[in-house]
Symmetry: C2
Subunit: 352 residues, 2 copies
């Protein structure tokens, strides 16, 4: 018999990241996990269906077709600037495993994506949260040196706030930091700017992207990191040999080529976002101006948790988020216009 736990202490103590509810049945209006309310482009579905032939063979280990297409579309010098992964979550996992050893330090802003912390804990590493101000300004301490600091994550736009730092501010932070800065651009397609070109100017800046949000492919699991080639080569040593499957490579390649579709899709979502924001403010919510596909909403008089429960009882799922020491609120994904209207009218009947 094994007398002690077979798990590392850091794992036994772990409180893992819990993703938003994914009800597999029911008729919920799902505004809780920042999914795209629209299906992906037809060309993507066709590419996936065509790739369902030949699955007995292993996929291309380095997703070359995707990387070539993405480099072209994103204005990068070549595919050697890109590493593809099984969702950007896998990319974040690889980054932490590559750079942060047991007892070393990972920095993240707070509130932001809770997974970063979980990844540090799995690794047996330390993590340090630098709080945002109530107005979502980033504390300058984010760029400071610290003992054992090996990596910093900056989601930009941030979640749950949807706020964004300009590339010049990101550049400044990266220059101050004694370690690489990963700019998590999961939501950048909805934003007025991004940090992709900074990668060409500094080996301290890495940018991660996902196809889960703006491309409408959360179910496909495909993300990537953009960094200087010598960093990509090292990071590639950590990935599983065949980390992306043949179907997702085919779908992702078709998706990244569809930049016209992407722009149109994002414009629709941005338009709905602004309508929803206006409506929510009309219902007495404070709504943070968002550069993403979700809205961070607080209400001075109502219990956020209760609002979440009341909406859920009416078949509308939003995300209740509580950040101890900082505050709580509702993160509401932008849906279709009809979903936005349903949310506003239901919320209206609850809060008034």
């Amino acid at each position: 018999m094994v007398n002690r736990s077979p798990f590392r202490p850091s794992v036994a103590d772990l409180h893992p990241y819990v993703p938003g509810e994914q009800p597999q049945g029911g008729k919920f209006i799902k505004l809780n996990t920042n999914e795209n309310p629209y299906p992906p482009a037809d060309a993507v579905i066709e590419a996936i269906r065509a790739a369902a032939i030949g699955l007995q063979r292993y996929p291309d280990p380095t997703a070359s077709l995707f990387r070539r297409a993405a480099a072209e579309v994103l204005g990068l010098p070549g595919p050697e600037w890109i590493l593809a992964g099984n969702g950007s979550d896998e990319i974040l996992t690889i980054l932490v495993r590559a750079m942060v050893g047991e007892g070393e330090l990972l920095r993240l802003p707070y509130p932001s994506y809770i997974l970063y912390r979980t990844l540090a804990e799995i690794q047996g590493a330390r993590w340090e949260q630098v709080p945002f101000s109530p107005q979502w300004d980033l504390n300058p301490a984010f760029g400071a040196a610290a003992e054992g600091l090996r990596l910093a994550f900056l989601p930009n736009p941030n979640s749950p706030s949807g706020t964004i730092l300009a590339p010049a501010e990101v550049w400044e932070i990266a220059q101050q930091l004694p370690c690489p800065l990963v700019v998590d651009e999961a939501y950048a397609d909805f934003a007025p700017g991004n940090c992709l070109q900074l990668v060409r100017q500094s080996d301290k800046i890495l940018v991660t992207r996902t196809l889960s949000k703006a491309y409408g492919l959360a179910g496909l699991r495909f993300g990537f990191v953009v960094a200087q080639p010598q960093l990509i080569a090292e990071l590639g040593k950590l990935k599983d040999s065949y980390n992306c499957d043949a179907l997702s490579i085919a779908g992702a390649t078709a998706a990244i080529r569809g930049q016209v579709w992407l722009r149109e899709n994002c414009q629709k979502i941005i338009a709905t976002r602004e309508t929803m924001a206006t409506g929510l403010r009309g219902l007495g919510f404070r709504v943070t101006p968002s550069s993403a596909n979700f809205l961070w909403c607080t209400h001075e008089e109502k219990s956020h948790r209760q609002l979440y429960e009341q909406l859920k009882a009416r078949q509308i799922l939003v995300r209740y988020m509580d950040f101890p020491g900082w505050g709580d609120g509702l993160r509401i994904s932008v849906g279709t216009d009809a979903q936005g209207d349903a949310l506003l009218s239901t919320l209206g009947s609850i809060v008034t």
Copy 2:
């Protein structure tokens, strides 16, 4: 500027596992990565194509449909005995991250799957290889205690040999070991027996499976681990939230339900395996009796590396494998009858 490498020393020094060649063009007869020569069942392809609708939503985080189907088919008490992953490589990664800390020890037999060692190195852990005898008997030292020993991997059937230990022998080893034993059953569908039922009798035995080989789904990336529920719950804390995509969950569920297809497919491959083994022996090769979908072949008079090169020049890919301190040889995947015939006639023209 970052003056030191941003990578952990264990990563900077890493010589990653190099998978078999995957030429994306050309007309090779590919007998080098133990893929199934036959496409998956039609029902699998249909299930995948049907699942290409709704990809804007995240997949089921725990692949429930697959786990329920697999538990039923494999005679397990329930889905809580199964954790699904993005290929069994991801499962192996999770196991090492969960159980082996920096400086701790992982044990593996030698020669076996080189990835185990790579996973220990990424982790900054130590690894210890226990050699097989030239007749592929496992040294009893494999079960011995050792300082810091936290996990042992036993591929069964083993690669590159295709040899197998009976469940009673595996049980004995697990009883001796002071740590959990992972029985990697990637090739068990081709074998006369397996260790699945041992999992019910001991929390020291975990069994991993893949759909890449016998189910003909290498391109889909789907594997799983079977273990007692309290272990599955802990391991689940380490996986990415959505580690399996919607397409692979749908395809894997259809595949595991196709046990009649599986048996027939394996019988065809086993029949070809025996024909190929007889033919190779007729050409002067020593061929290890195999319980998998490949054959380990050595030739007393010929250079194995040269044979590999000569076959490659003739558009036939096999795997040349060199295990320092142990020896080298050719690992030849079992193809269709026609591919087996082509291999034998081409090899015949080379060696005679």
